[in-house]
């Protein structure tokens, strides 16, 4: 999360609190810098700048302006960190409809490369206002993914 935030802000790295005395920093190439005010060492993590953010939203216009209803989770952060965004949306709506409540438009078309209308595109996960997590479908996936053949059949069936 911190690495994506650094990318979203356009800075090369960002300090993170804690981790001192744990093995975690060595696993992910955390490094330390000296706080220029206090002289204390602090861990920093590098910016993570993905090429693409792939997001599913409730509503977008054809240009890629989009709004997320309910918790955005980390999606707005991922959109800001990545070079470009690919959206799937429950519904494509008119720009005028978005413009009536512009404060809800969390993703602007500036970095959106593609938008696809894909109702049900978050299943078996949830999409607030449309559907909840589908527990039976999650269990069906887990069962199918136990073998390569099962997974291939699952991917063909879930189009």
């Amino acid at each position: 999360m911190t690495g994506l935030r650094a990318a979203s802000l356009g800075v090369p790295f960002e300090p993170v609190p804690g981790f001192v005395g744990t093995d975690l920093p060595a696993t992910a190439d955390f490094r330390t810098v000296k706080d220029p005010w206090t002289g204390e060492e602090i861990y920093v993590v590098p910016a993570l700048r993905p090429r693409w953010a792939l997001l599913h939203v409730q509503e977008a216009d054809a240009r890629g302006n989009a709004r997320i209803l309910g918790s955005p989770g980390y999606d707005l952060l991922m959109a800001a960190a990545a070079d470009q965004v690919i959206l799937t949306a429950e519904r494509i709506i008119e720009t005028e409809e978005l413009a009536r409540t512009p404060e809800l438009t969390g993703i602007s078309d500036l970095t959106v490369a593609a938008v696809v209308e894909a109702p049900g595109g978050a299943r078996p996960g949830d999409c607030p206002g449309h559907y909840d997590v589908d527990g039976a479908a999650i269990r069906r996936y887990l069962e199918a993914a136990r073998t390569a053949e099962g997974l291939a059949a699952y991917l063909e069936a879930e189009r």
């Binding site: 993170v16 190439d29 955390f30 989770g73 996936y141 991917l155």
Partner: protein, 77 residues
Amino acid sequence: MLHRIPAALVRELCRQGRRGLRLSKPSPSYDLDLLCAAGCLAEVDAGVASLESAFGGALPGYRRAVEAGLVRVREFS
């Protein structure tokens, strides 16, 4: 975790047989597991990664890929 995941898009990446991808996501779940199970991923940057507790919590496809050395994991904050 299972909240507005781009599931249909991820399934299409799997069907297209994409390889060598790097996933950077704070709390992935089904998407991470599926990309691992389908052999699409080479690297993962993630914090917590899990299905929700109702489904046993763990991500078996992710676990298998990491244990087999197929995926390099960096756990950032």
